[in-house]
Symmetry: C2
Subunit: 156 residues, 2 copies
Amino acid sequence: MSIFFDDFQVGQIFVSPGRTFTEAEIISFAHSYDPQSMHLDRVSSEQGQFKGLIASGFHTLNIAWWLFLRLGIVEQSMKIGIGIDELRWNRPVRPGDTLTLTVEIADKSITSAEDCGRIYFAHTLKNEDLEVVMTYRSLNLIWREGFSGKSRDSQE
Amino acid sequence: MSIFFDDFQVGQIFVSPGRTFTEAEIISFAHSYDPQSMHLDRVSSEQGQFKGLIASGFHTLNIAWWLFLRLGIVEQSMKIGIGIDELRWNRPVRPGDTLTLTVEIADKSITSAEDCGRIYFAHTLKNEDLEVVMTYRSLNLIWREGFSGKSRDSQE
């Protein structure tokens, strides 16, 4: 169900399945990339500002991206990521939380290259109580049909 | 050498040690969070637009954050992350690249809370050829001295 640049419509909305954060995963990620006690240490975090472990915001971002890829809409059409804008961590994510991603096509524009266009995806991540835990926009180059990395002959 | 809100000065610059990206780490990260062939598959990526494996941009962001924490400047003074602005992936990161982070205090402002202030950190990640591979700004709440999570008695 991959969608190419010309077929994305501004305003289209896609909703992912859920994914549950486990304590083991939160601690393991923090150990590798964000070793702060609020993400790592169950005992000291109980005394801290959040009264318990919370996931690294970077971990939450990675999971949101994974949920985006799970949608399958850019499986053959993703050329590359340009950047991220206006990321906000609105609420803590805790062990046991189940997160779901909603993605809206916020904007699209052609580029000087004929093989792809630019799309702004607006990502909203919610927990099981439908509270928004994170929002961001990703700016990506999306192949036009026939120019995808999967059909190299037509591209080079 | 933790620095608290009042002691950060706009324009201050900090430079991290380097960290080398390995192919194993790039593939392992991609498998968990960004399973696209340009990050996962050495064979097909040779035929792709980058002529070889490149690191996930999210992986690069996580390593940049790890390098930031390695500086030690917010070890006791980080209250929480609010968000990220204007992230741009300027160049691909490849296996064997060694990245170094430069962080500048871009802006600081007080909040309505007396225990912390808001700091914009401007992060620039460069490879061993001093080419910029990624830039972003992080917006964080930074404890004032005496209110840190490490000295709970004075806070609660």
